[in-house]
Every structure is written in structure tokens, then in C-alpha cells.
């Protein structure tokens, strides 16, 4: 009885996992397809990768996506961390209001955020392009950083900062030497979320960009009308990049721990 239940669970999870990974595997396989077909695998070839690397719009979109993601991550991580620390020391009313507004970009449908920014930028007369795209990405990334740093600040022993002051550290020294190292995991995961949010964003970017500044998502959307296996090559590259980033983020702390342990034992 119990055994059959376990097997049932296993089969169910297996089907779920296949469902989740089918498109990803499909994309990678067909990026090596020698034929143009999206349905029949004609043999192994790298022609779509070659095409992609020679397609300047594709290469440009990869460039923009990465540059925007890096800049947005950098700015939003710093700004979000600073704000989260400030909020943790603010009074309840101010904190409540800021947190409410902060939640808006997360809770609102992205399309609403997108059109709001579109109208806002054009009301200011800003030309749509790299700058507007970057500003929009910073705007929707900061809330995620704040959300991931705040719990770390909340679980921080409130006496830690006081202890640093007590031992002669100025508030700034207390911040740098005690608070920031303590909330580092929150900052790192905030940065990671910000990076992938920016890297993957489509809807908001779609509304606020212009003048040929496209990211990968927009490119896929506009190109999807025609059959173009280069998209599979592009997609595979994205999958590889994200996988590498995630692996690094997950493995580096483990390696570090191991290193420290061996050092400690020696």
C-alpha cells in the first residue's frame, strides 16, 4: 500500500519534471538542428550559432541585455541595501508607507507598470532607448533587493549594532564592520534576483525601450512571427549563462566553506 503510494508520487513528480524541462531540452536540441525545421531533427550542425554570431541585431541585443542587467544590478543592490538599512531604523508609519509603495511594482501587473513608465518618460520628453530602459530596470529591481535584505536586518540581533558602538565604533564603522557583513547573504541573493529579473524582463522593457535598443526578450518576441532557428541558438546561450550564474552562486559558498574548514583543521 505504502509502496504503491510512493511509486505513484515518483511517477507524478517525474511527469512534472518532464513538463518543466521539455521546452528547455527541446530548445537546446533544435539549436543544433541542421535543417530549418522546428519539428524534425535533421542532424547535428552549428549553423544557427554561426548565423547568430553574424547577426548584428542579435549580438547587440545580447550586449544590451547583459550591460543593462549588470548596471541595474549594481545600482539597485547598492540603493536597495542602503534603503533597507534606513527603513529598519525609521519609524513605523514612514516604513509602512514606503513598503506599500515598494510593493507596487511587484504586486501590479507588469503591463501596468510598463505603460505608466511609457507615459511618464514621454511626458518628460525623454527619448526612449538605453537610458529609459536602464532607469526602468533599476526601478523594478530595487524592491526585490529591499525585500531580500529586510528580513536579514529584522533577524539581526538589535544589540549587535549597539555592541559595536559600545566598543567604540562610530555609526559608520558599525555599519561597515558589523551590519553589512551580517546581512551579506541577503544582499547577495537580492543582487542575484535583481540580475535575473533584469536579464529576463520582457513586458516592462517592451514598453519603455525604443530606437533599436532591444534586449533578448524583445528580440525573441518580435522574431517569433517567422520561423527562425537562430532563436533556439540564442535561447540555448541564455540557458547556459543562467545555469552558469546559478551554479556559481550556489557552489562558491560551499567551496568557501570547505576551504575555511581545511584551513581550520590545518
Amino acid at each position: 500500500m505504502k509502496q504503491s503510494k510512493k511509486i505513484g508520487s515518483k511517477i507524478y513528480m517525474a511527469i512534472m519534471i518532464i513538463f518543466f524541462y521539455l521546452p528547455i531540452i527541446y530548445t537546446i536540441i533544435f539549436s543544433f538542428n541542421s535543417s530549418r525545421s522546428l519539428t524534425k531533427f535533421g542532424g547535428f550542425s552549428l549553423q544557427w550559432y554561426q548565423k547568430m554570431f553574424h547577426d548584428s541585431t542579435m549580438m547587440q541585443s545580447i550586449f544590451y541585455t547583459i550591460v543593462i542587467a549588470l548596471l541595474a544590478t549594481l545600482v539597485s543592490t547598492i540603493a536597495g541595501t542602503i534603503t533597507a538599512i534606513g527603513l529598519s531604523k525609521s519609524n513605523r508609519i514612514l516604513k509602512g508607507i514606503v513598503e506599500q509603495i515598494n510593493d507596487l511594482p511587484i504586486m501590479n501587473p507588469e503591463i501596468v507598470t510598463g505603460i505608466g513608465l511609457l507615459m511618464f518618460f514621454s511626458a518628460l520628453g525623454v527619448k526612449k532607448g538605453f537610458m529609459t530602459l536602464l532607469l526602468a530596470h533599476i526601478m523594478f529591481c530595487i524592491p526585490y533587493v529591499i525585500l531580500s535584505v529586510t528580513p536579514k536586518l529584522r533577524s539581526l540581533d538589535p544589540n549587535l549594532a549597539d555592541a559595536a558602538l559600545d566598543l567604540g565604533a562610530t555609526p559608520w564603522q558599525a555599519l561597515v564592520k558589523v551590519i553589512v557583513p551580517q546581512i551579506m547573504p541577503g544582499i547577495v541573493s537580492g543582487a542575484l534576483i535583481a540580475f535575473t529579473m533584469s536579464f529576463d524582463d520582457f513586458i516592462i522593457s517592451y514598453f519603455v525601450t525604443g530606437n533599436g535598443v532591444n534586449n533578448i526578450s524583445i528580440l525573441v518576441y518580435t522574431m517569433s512571427k517567422r520561423i527562425n532557428p537562430s532563436i533556439n541558438a540564442l535561447s540555448s546561450i541564455i540557458i547556459v549563462i543562467i545555469t552558469v550564474v546559478l551554479l556559481l552562486v550556489n557552489i562558491i559558498p560551499i567551496l568557501k566553506q570547505k576551504k575555511e574548514k581545511t584551513k581550520y583543521e590545518a
Binding site: D157, N159, L160, D162, A163, A164, L165, D166, L167, G168, A169, T170, P171, Q173, K177, V178, P181, Q182, Y264
Partner: protein, 521 residues
């Protein structure tokens, strides 16, 4: 000795809530001062004001002859051992202790020397490279002390530092802390809610309550001459009795006159009498200054804590009428049903609900084969708020029904003027089986008799602590029995080395110097 710290009329207001109401306190060099009080009394707030983590709303803090209210914490020559230690988890033991010295940019070799000396002081020489999160509570505690002392402060503040440790470790650390304080020779200000900790370690105890200082004194002063009821109760166990000071050295309580050593009160002033449990002795009844009955005995390791009742509380006796009425049987629906008559007070009728009626009549229906309960579908009754007998009928969906009487009678209360208490209970009907089957007889008796007691001045409920009955619940037969309910009377806690049995009739003995007189209020 030199005055080191002066608190002058410190007031602290948190969003309109007064946490400190004008604290005046002097602390001298090399003193071990304990701020003692229940949580919320303001002791930690006062400590945090001294540490510089809070600003007082009013008043001055003078440290070494200078006003320091506007000096930030990192410029004060004061260090703190925090609640739960607040060690920096991302640094090892050495770096934690060296933190303050590194901030001051002291040379590396000096830091090394000082840290080693501190590790020696707290007996953790080999732990320098350890991660602080791997240490036990007691070890973390020592590191926190070392981290504070390495900065050579003039004052060390300790905020309930032993709160997180277990009893044995706490005792060890109490001695260790006292030893460290004597060795480094600086002022320790210690915050705790544990009176025993305060008594063992302090040179001076400051008892606080609701943001005010109650009493300042040495441990012996505070223990032997508590200034009021709060201090007496907070510091150790004590018996506190209402009394009247007839004249110097003459006090009356329990309607008797006793000699005492206190004087300087007004004639016939109402006072509180304090007698510590260890100052009372149990003697044969005829020799006692007070006479009573042993109510309970608890073994406390070295001694027995014996409670002697000298005067019973407010009591009421009601009759329990035991019948052998059989349940109604409905063979057609295969149901059994039972209920009993019950008494009510006129004042109950207003708030009478069906649930109350079911509970008081103990109405139940069940399937005799499966023993499963069947819900009572309908209750029909008609009642007026005046004395009389009113029928009530319970029926199930299958049509089984039982009719019983609700008897309204308003002579069911006893008022005790002396205690300002009122107790209430009614006669009740039960079958022998119900009494035999009860799994918590005293609670059931209270429910069946609807017994309750209130204080007359405050209209708050008073607990009924004693229930007395003259039947054997295992072998009860049809008849009428008395059940007596009573509130707590005058009780004395006595520490004895001999074991007495509950119910022993004994006398209580004490000497004039065992009686401590406190002003009321």
C-alpha cells in the same frame, strides 16, 4: 569612595508612555550595583540611557563630574555586556575581543597582549581561534565580558547577562562575575529580575517598579527591612498580614496583640506585617501564638514549604441529593436519555441560555448499544424571574424526551463582610452513577452546584480553593449529602525541616524581632 555616576531626575517617555518617572540615583566607584525589578519596571531603560543607546526625556546623567547626555555611546568610558551577548557572529573569539582595540587603532602587539590577558581572566585561553557560534552559552558569556573589559572601561553594564543560562551554570557565573569585579576593581551595574542573583552578588540593590525606585540598600537591609509590600514580596517569600499599630512596639493582627521591635508609627495606624517563612516555627497547638490547620506541604529540597491556615475563607454549604433515577428508555428508537432537576438563582434567569440549561440539567441522550451520544434537538421551557418551579423538556430527533424541574430560589449566597467576599452555590440532584463516573469530582461538584465567588469591592471573581464533602464517591448511595465550598482564608507559609501531614492541627510561634512592620501602600 567617590561618586562616579549621578542620575538626576531621569524621566523617559516612549510615545506617551512613562517608562521612567524621575529616577535619582548615585553610584560610587568600585560598587557592584544591581537594578532589580520585574520586567517592564524600567531597569533596562535606565541602563541603556547610561550606555548612551537611549536619550532620556528629562533629567541629567552625570558621569565623573560631567554631563554626558549628548555624548554618543562610542565616546563613553562605559562598556556593556548585552542580553544574549551580541557577539559578532562573523568574527572569531579573538576578533570579537579585539574589536574595540582595533577601532582605537592600537598597535597589533598591544592588542595581542591585551586579548590574551582577557582570555586568561575569563579562563578561555585556548579558544582564541574558535568561531563564536560554536561556543556554549557560558563560554559566549565569558567572551562578551572579555570583549567589554578589554577596553578598560570605568563602568561595566550587564543587562540580564545570565538570563539564558541554566541554573547550575548561572550559579557558577554569579561567583565568577563577583570574582572578576573584585579583580578588575571597577563599577559593575547589573540588571536582573532574579532576586537571588541580586542578593548574592551586590553591594547595593536598587529595587524598581513601574519606573520608580522602591528601595535602595544593601542586600541584608532590603531582605530584613523591606520598605513596602512590593519589595517584601519581590525579595524572597514572605507572609504579609493586615494589622494595626497600637503603640510603639505593640502591633495587633489576627485579633491578637503582639510585641514587636518597630516604632515611630501613628497610633492605630493600619500597617502591613511581614513575617518571613523561615522565621516561623510550628509548635504544638497549645503553645502557639496563632493556631491553624496544615493545608498543604511541598518538598523543596532542603526544607518543606508548609501552608498553615489560621482562619477559613468565605464558605457555603449546599445539599447534594443523590437519587437512583433510571434513564428514560425509548426502545423504538433504541435511545436512552437522562436529565436531573436543578436549582437556579433569580439573577441567572436573565442570561439563561439553552446551553446552560443542558449543562445544569446534565441532559444527555445516547444509544445504549454503541454508547454513542445523540444530540438533543429541542429544549422547551417557560421561566419567570421569580421563585418557583418550572418544568423543562429535552427531546431528541427520534422523539425520546425527558422533563425535569428548574427550581428558582434566591437564598443561595453567603456574604463575608470581613473579607469583602460573596460566595454562591445551589443545592443539586445527581444519581449515584454520575458521581461514581466523574473523572474530576471537585470540578464537577463546582459545576453542578454552580458555585462561584466574587470580591465585593472589585466585583472580580475569587477562586474557590477548598471543596469539602462528607461522602465516599466510590460507594455512594441514595441520600442527601453536604458539600462545602470555600475561598482562601488566612494562610501562612512556613519553612520547616519536619514533615507535617495535611489536616494536622498545629500552633505557630515567632519572636518579636521576627515581625517587620511596613507602611501601607
Amino acid at each position: 569612595m567617590k561618586k562616579l555616576i549621578q542620575f538626576k531626575n531621569i524621566v523617559k517617555d516612549f510615545d506617551g508612555q512613562l517608562v521612567l518617572k524621575g529616577i535619582n540615583l548615585d553610584i560610587y566607584e568600585n560598587e557592584f550595583v544591581t537594578l532589580l525589578g520585574p520586567s517592564g519596571c524600567g531597569k533596562t531603560t535606565l541602563l541603556r540611557i547610561l550606555g548612551g543607546f537611549l536619550n532620556q526625556t528629562e533629567g541629567q546623567v552625570i558621569f565623573d563630574n560631567t554631563e554626558i547626555s549628548h555624548v554618543p555611546p562610542y565616546k563613553r568610558e562605559i562598556n556593556t555586556v548585552f542580553q544574549k551577548y551580541a557577539l559578532f557572529p562573523h568574527m572569531n573569539v579573538y576578533d570579537n575581543i579585539a574589536f574595540g582595540l582595533k577601532i582605537k587603532k592600537e598597535p597589533k602587539d598591544i592588542i595581542e597582549q591585551k586579548v590574551q590577558r582577557m582570555l586568561k581572566l575569563v579562563n578561555l585561553e585556548d579558544y582564541a581561534k574558535r568561531n563564536v557560534t560554536e561556543l556554549s552559552g557560558g563560554q559566549q558569556q565569558r567572551i562578551a565580558i572579555a570583549r567589554a573589559l578589554v577596553n578598560e572601561p570605568m563602568v561595566l553594564l550587564l543587562d540580564e547577562p545570565l538570563g539564558a543560562l541554566d541554573l547550575k551554570l548561572r550559579k557558577e557565573m554569579q561567583h565568577e562575575l563577583k570574582k572578576i569585579q573584585q579583580e578588575v576593581g571597577i563599577t559593575f551595574i547589573y540588571v536582573t529580575h532574579d532576586q537571588e542573583e541580586a542578593l548574592t552578588m551586590s553591594d547595593k540593590i536598587v529595587v524598581m517598579k513601574d519606573g520608580e525606585i522602591q528601595q535602595i540598600g544593601s542586600p541584608t537591609d532590603i531582605y530584613n527591612e523591606p520598605i513596602n509590600e512590593f519589595v517584601a514580596k519581590f525579595i524572597g517569600e514572605s507572609n504579609i498580614i493586615d494589622g494595626v499599630m497600637l503603640d510603639d512596639y505593640r502591633v495587633m493582627f489576627e485579633d491578637k496583640i503582639f510585641d514587636c521591635v518597630d516604632f515611630g508609627f501613628d497610633k492605630n495606624e493600619k500597617i502591613d506585617v511581614v513575617i518571613r517563612p523561615e522565621d516561623l516555627d510550628i509548635v504544638p497547638r497549645k503553645d502557639g501564638k496563632l493556631k491553624g490547620i496544615v493545608r498543604s506541604v511541598l518538598f523543596k529540597g532542603v526544607h518543606y514549604e508548609t501552608i498553615i491556615e489560621t482562619k477559613v475563607g468565605t464558605s457555603i454549604t449546599v445539599q447534594m441529593k443523590v437519587s437512583d433515577e433510571k434513564p428514560v428508555i425509548n426502545t423504538e428508537a433504541n435511545e436512552k436519555m437522562s436529565a436531573n432537576d436543578f436549582y437556579l438563582d433569580v439573577s441567572d434567569i436573565e442570561e439563561l441560555t439553552e446551553a446552560t440549561i443542558v449543562a445544569r440539567a446534565d441532559a444527555q441522550a445516547w444509544n445504549p448499544d454503541t454508547e454513542e451520544w445523540i444530540s438533543i434537538q429541542k429544549i422547551s421551557y417557560d421561566i419567570k424571574p421569580e421563585n418557583g418551579t418550572y418544568p423543562v423538556t429535552f427531546s431528541t430527533a427520534a422523539g425520546t424526551s425527558v422533563t425535569v424541574n428548574m427550581i428558582v430560589k434566591d437564598e443561595n449566597r453567603v456574604i463575608n463582610k470581613e473579607y469583602q467576599e460573596k460566595i454562591f452555590a445551589v443545592n443539586f440532584f445527581k444519581t449515584a452513577d454520575e458521581i461514581k463516573e466523574s473523572i474530576a469530582l471537585e470540578t464537577d461538584l463546582k459545576t453542578w452546584a454552580n458555585a462561584s465567588a466574587w470580591s465585593l469591592d472589585e466585583d472580580t471573581p475569587v477562586e474557590i480553593t477548598s471543596i469539602h464533602y462528607d461522602f465516599d464517591p466510590e460507594n455512594i448511595t441514595v441520600g442527601t449529602y453536604n458539600v462545602t465550598f470555600a475561598t482562601e482564608g488566612h494562610e501562612y507559609m512556613v519553612d520547616t525541616t519536619d514533615k507535617y501531614e495535611v489536616g494536622d492541627e498545629v500552633g505557630l510561634m515567632f519572636q518579636p524581632q521576627d515581625i517587620h512592620i511596613m507602611k501601607k501602600g
